[in-house]
Each structure stands twice: as C-alpha cells, then as structure tokens.
Symmetry: C2
Subunit: 226 residues, 2 copies
Amino acid sequence: MGHLHVPLLNKITLFEGLPAATLARIAEAAGVQRFSNHGFLFREGEEPDFVYSFLEGGIVLVSGAEGHEAVIEFYGPGESVLLPAAILGMPYLLSARASSDGQALLVPASKLRALMNEDAALAARCARVLSQNWRALITQIKEIKTHGATARLAHFLISQADRSKGPATLVLPGMKKEVAQRLGIKPETFSRTLKKLRAFGVECDGDAIRIASMERLTALVDTLPA
Amino acid sequence: MGHLHVPLLNKITLFEGLPAATLARIAEAAGVQRFSNHGFLFREGEEPDFVYSFLEGGIVLVSGAEGHEAVIEFYGPGESVLLPAAILGMPYLLSARASSDGQALLVPASKLRALMNEDAALAARCARVLSQNWRALITQIKEIKTHGATARLAHFLISQADRSKGPATLVLPGMKKEVAQRLGIKPETFSRTLKKLRAFGVECDGDAIRIASMERLTALVDTLPA
DNA sequence: GCATGAGCTTGACATAGGTCAAGGCCGGGA
DNA sequence: TCCCGGCCTTGACCTATGTCAAGCTCATGC
C-alpha cells in the first residue's frame, strides 16, 4: 500500500466529484494491483478486504462451480466492483475473473467504511453508484424475464455498440461463452442466435461485431414475439 | 404532509439507528398515504417524487405492459422501495401495485437528497440498505440463470418459510400468478410445479403453504439436475 | 512444421417450459 | 339467491432452448 497519486483516483467513477481532502485520505490507504488474464481477483465466499476499481483491463463477475457457472456482468476501466460486500462486511456473493490483463486500484474495505461514516460526500457518492448498479441489475432481470434469446442478444449488442444510429461496431467484453452466460443462454444457442442476426445486418469476426444499421436491429427487437 | 411522530420512522429499516436530529428533520417532511389492494402507487417512467416505506401491507414491483408483465420482487412492512430512483432523480424503472390494503410513509425525494449531502449517517445508512438490495437482486439473477423451475420454487418456499428446520408454514406474498412471474415462470407451470412438490411434503391451501420437513425440501434442491 | 487443445460452430435430437383451451372454484354484486 | 368474472388447475400439444457429439480453426509449444 504505497504512496499514491490522487490523479489515479480521478479515473474511477466511484470517486468522481469528491473533495480533495477526501481523495487524499483515500489515496493514502489505497494500493494498485496488477492482474493477468483468466486469473481470479477474488472468489465467492471470501471476506471482503478491498473494493476493486479498474484502471486498465476488466473482469467478469461469475458465480457457481467452474463449468457450471453463471455470468453476472462485465466490468471495465473506471468501474468498481463489490462495493456492497465491502460496505456490509459480508462475504462476496461472486467471484471475479480477469477478462484481460490489467490493473486495479484497491481500497481497503475497513477504511472505506470508516470514511463513509464521517464524510457525507463520500457516503452519498457510494449511494449514487450503488443506485446505478441496482438499476443495471433491474434492467437485466426484466430482460431475462420478458425476452427470448434473440431479443436479449440484440439488446445486448445495442447496449454495447459505439453509436446509436446508422452503422456501428463493438467488441465483445469477454469470450463468447461468457457473453452467452451473461445473457442466460448456452454457448451453442449464442452461436446459432448470432447467426440468425446475420440476416439483420450483424456481422461477426472473432470478438468484433459490425452492425450495419442500428435502426434495423432496434426495429427487429420490437418485431420479436417474446 | 403533516406533523409526524418520529416513532413511525422507527418501524422502517431504512431509518434504523439514525440520530434523533436526523429523524426529526425527516419526520418534518414526511407524510403517510393509505393505499388499497390492487391499486398502483406509482408507475414505470414517472418522475420520483417520494421514497415509499411500508408501515402496513405490501406491494409488488412489476414492469412491462399489463398482461405481459414481469414481477421483480415483493415488499412488505418495514421495507422501502425505489430509493435508487429517488437518489438519482431518474424515472422509475418499475411500477408498484398494492398486494393488500396498507399504508406507506412518503419521504420527498428532494428532501432525502438534500439531507444525504449533509448527513453522513443518513447517507451511509442509504448505502447499506442499497447494498442489501443489490445482494438480493444478485441472488435472484444467480437463481434464474442456474436453476430450473422446480429448484427455483423450492428455494423460494424455503426463503419464505417461518422456520428453517422441521415443519414450517408460510403465506405467499401475492397472487400465485405474481409469485410465478417473480420466479420467471408462467402461472400454469407454477401450478404444475407446486403439484410435483406435493410428493416432497409441500401442501397448499389457497395462499397458505405447509412444508412437512424443511430438511426434505432442502435435500430435494441438491438432487435436482439444473 | 506439426501436433495439440481451447474455443467456436454445426447438426441431430431431447425436454422443460410455454401456449391454448376447458373446466372448476370461489367471492362479490344485483 | 343466483350469476358473473377472476383466479387457479388440468390436459394436450408445441417450440425454444438445452444436450450430445462431431468437426473446424487458430494459436501455442514442441
């Protein structure tokens, strides 16, 4: 846990807009950790020692036994994970596996909890970030409960695309297998569904996707039954 | 928005353990609203004017068009809903429909936001409650992605039961139709699955359920394939 | 350069769960 | 009291998605 430059903290959404004094106190206690692709940063059931925020690279949150796991969500640069476990001091519900090489900023959970109780700005910031996380999960649950595989995949592609009109591109945030499980379907179904979308202007080369027309894809979603 | 007794606030988990001064300021701005069964307290897309906390009775959070809706979760006395929308000042992602007559405590969203920025105890409390909400949703997503209808129903019954050993009872927190959708299945499937569980000591009379042996039901879950 | 294996695709087939349609049951209103 | 309309159950049938089993392709290490 070295001496850290405050500017690093500015890359993290969680710490956005906090007063300099607060940032300084966080920086004091924080450290940086490198991680490499496919490695686990932490596992389900462990006690939360840190909040992880990503400076570079990303991870995928998974749960369950290897080979039979559910993928919850992908996280990348600027984002933080497992704030809830750290705040409550309860065991992680999920494991994090790196989906690329990268580095994370680690803030000790105990330090964060202590600061939150004194510093309204920090606590309020945490509440806002948690609120956004909550909304993201709600969106995912609605999606799973109301749409079939095709619509889910289409929505996902739309949400990841770099533009919202005309042609767009994106690169999948993890292995196809992982994206499939994020969507709640099997890799085989993912593959077949993606193929179906070719008829609607979705081309795929490795983990890069090209969407010929966002409008066309959006229109497709409305057409779909479930 | 009348003059309110602070003791009412003590019934709400969200406000647990807050200093008297904070409670007084919240009470000042809060009001009570009665609602009756099947009525909507608010609808998806509306601007968040209040945080709702339930003193009596409960609601079900739903989304989507009537007749084609997804049920997200049930909430009852002591619990609060839509803190995230209120904190962020963004439109509700969900609608709330009463699942019984009751009354709710309403705290203006603007007031809550203002207080949070000054009062670390309140902000930290919000963060903790949001953290718990987050974990509940994660549990639900894991459940949907990794278990079939039978296991999901069994888990749900276990989570609602009044005891964790031996025989137990529970009453469903809403119409069977709603519980089904909460579990991500259709009412017909719910009915059939519940019937299957009869072979494992689950009896059902209206919305009251009797579980002959929690151990037996727990054991069943492990047996199940998906 | 070749063998190896992970990740992906494809096909044939199986099945959980959805859909459609008919009652049964029960409670509220005339 | 009877009728009507929700809600739930049941049965027959259908389909989206999962399962199993080859292949294919590409990167890696020998």
